[in-house]
Amino acid sequence: MKKIGVFVCWCGLNISSTVDVEKASEELKNYPGVFYADDYKYLCSDPGQELIKKTIVDNKLEGIVVAACSPNMHESTFRAAAEAAGLNPYRVEITNIREQASWVHSNKEDATAKAIQLIKSTVEKVKKSEDLFPQQIPLTKKVLVIGGGISGMTVALEVAEAGYPVILVEKEPQIGGNMAKLSETFPTLDCASCILTPKTAEVGRHSNITLMTNSEVIESTGYFGNFTVKVKRKPTFVDWKKCIGCMLCQEKCPKKTNSDFEHGMGKRKAISVAFPQAIPYRPIISEKECIYFKTGKCKICVKVCPVDCIEFEQEEKIIEENIGAIVVASGYDLLPKEELGEYGQGKYADVIDGMQFERIASASGPTEGVIKRPSDGKIPKSIVFIQCAGSRDNQKGRPYCSKICCMYTAKHAMLYKHQVHDGEATIFYMDIRAGGKGYEEFVQRAIEDDHVLYLRGRVARVYEEDGRLVVLGVDTLSGEQVRIEADLVVLATAVIPSIGAKALGQTLKVGTDTYGFFNEAHPKLKPVESMTKGVFLAGCAQAPRDIPETVSQATGAAAKVITMFSKNHLVSDPQVAKVNEKICVGCLLCKPICPYKAIEPEIVEVRVGCRAEKRQVATINKGLCQGCGACSVACRSGAMNLSGFSNEQILEELKSLCL
């Protein structure tokens, strides 16, 4: 039997006024297994802690029970004291006789009896306790950032500046993401590329950042601190190392096609760079459109290239990297107009979405910033903006608020009015959500100074009549049905997770919600962590948000990575699950239950009688396990247990309490 010490705290009068602490310590002295028991005024005070330390050393105690306040208050204090005295801290357990006895009961006799029983049960728990040691986990100090938009770039720059290597993977040929497509930004109306370009340039030249554009993460294995990822580098058909970015190829290429970057508002060549400030400023050949790939003839780009860097035979490459942490910054897309039947289902050229409007309003866009409508290039005399197009709409399966539309729509209307003074800008809205610094003022400016007409209500239908678009809406403030003939309709379509986010989540083993946004580990306290340890989230990958919020969150994610990398190795809490391999049958019922994917099968050699046998068992990744214990309940053979809250400990506690 272990030598156990029991310390009962008076907590001044807090405990002692309702619980007879002297009686308790006296009674515990005679309890089996208890070698020492005493009471003290304030155990958490320095002399109190010294008393504990001295008693442990003097009596060679093998476990102690501190009957005091809630373990949430001082468990770590007393465990540290014990450790200083050479006792394993996990041999220390707290009995809560303040919050659970003295403070909630008024009858001294009852409270004392209960306290004594609680202490006894804790003694029983300590009898079953074991030495536990935190495990050191090696750490690769290199981060993988997925997504090269404003959030991914922010993370990359922060971590790189802190001195750690960064791999930035972007699926498009250039970085910049959606922000690179924006015209001007609310609420300041500063041009998006003016604030973005210095960032992209810095990312491009930073010595700690390895840029992998036109690439995708296709596999991730390992865990917290020790991931191995595979990145697919799609062919660009141009040797970017040799290329000098003269863009003669683009100039001479005979094949024109619709530009994805321009969202159908402008054209590009079959060999092209998306926009003039693109980083890297290197062209890529689109296999789908290139004449050579189709017919085997042309090769004009080859002829004009001064450095001979066109490589039609280039193939995709898979690159493997060891990294310590992952930041998902995969961004957003917009709900396709084709899903909005009542707004024309994409069949009207002059019904466009917010991003398309950004392109025609952008100084570097296809119209050089002159707002012209796509069908005939005329300057619209009347524009109707429809907010909540697909957002806040259960029927369309998107009941959430897309958060950015109220502000960008106000901005769109403002930009238009600044260009076309006699033009009519009408906005259909449901609520104006302008919570943000300077946001409400911005909206009011649009209304007061620029005379943008806000109509409160939704639009039922948009259709074409006599070359104009007819918008059937309502203004619920006046109660009137509204019929507006417009030259251009701009839909503030719902923000949705970027296409492929769900698949990326599966690759990384990170959960996504119903809509495909990545789940944070805790909605309040862990907004940048995912449920998978070592994987962090930034920007619209997690939920719709605007640029300032994205940058804040990305900086937070970067701080998390930097904190993680500031240590030489990672330490894991030893109160995690453990498997008794002797009795584990390898059924792996525990595996799907684990919210952290910490359980994997393993083949082990076990001795059965006198021969060795290979058998599948469950194994715990101590780096991933968070110690919830759900697996231990699912285990049929009882092989799964939880250190610190083991089956034996709980059962002993229980038995003692039931007496």
Binding site: S70, P71, N72, N96, R98, E99, Q100, A101, W103, V104, H105, S106, N107, D110, A111, A113, K114, Q117, L118, S121, H522, M531, Q575, I593, P595, Q626, G627, C628, G629, A630, S632, V633, A634, L642, F645, N647, I650, L651, E653, L654, K655, L657, C658, L659
Partner: protein, 140 residues
């Protein structure tokens, strides 16, 4: 005349919400009967139905499982497992002839000290009315 029946009730409380809720009841000096003994577990999902059955076997008159509200679980899904296991345990109790009112499950958050105390009072009353549990008990 027999002595007044004082029920013996075990409460499994998850560390993150309900145990902290109990602390809250304490710091707010809310009163509830001394019939309840709390066992701290990391998560309500840690509570094995065997523990519950063991409690009845060893002489408990009632068992309460308290966890985080749906969606609030520190470990994301533990309270959902707990709920399912609770339903299972209830059915098993019916099978054993133990009144299913002797097992209760509650979502109590760290801020709900008031609720914690109320639930303790209610449950203690329920069990007092039911009287001692004699089914499945190891020794008479």
């Amino acid at each position: 005349m027999s002595v007044e029946f004082k029920p013996n009730i075990i409460c499994f409380a998850c560390n993150w919400c309900s145990y902290t809720g109990a602390d809250m009841a304490g710091t707010s000096r809310m009163k509830y009967p001394a019939t309840i003994r709390i066992i701290r577990v990391p998560c309500s999902g840690r509570v094995n139905p065997t523990f519950v059955m063991k409690a009845y076997q060893k002489g408990a008159d009632g068992v309460l499982i308290a966890g985080c509200h749906p969606g609030d679980c520190h470990y994301n899904s533990g309270n959902y497992f707990a709920k399912r296991r609770f339903l299972l345990a209830t059915r098993f109790m019916t099978f054993l002839g133990i009144d299913e009112k002797r097992l209760r499950m509650e979502w109590i958050s760290a801020a709900e000290g008031v609720k914690f105390a109320r639930v303790m009072r209610e449950f203690s009353e329920t069990i007092s009315k039911l009287g001692p549990n004699l089914r499945a008990r190891e020794e008479a």
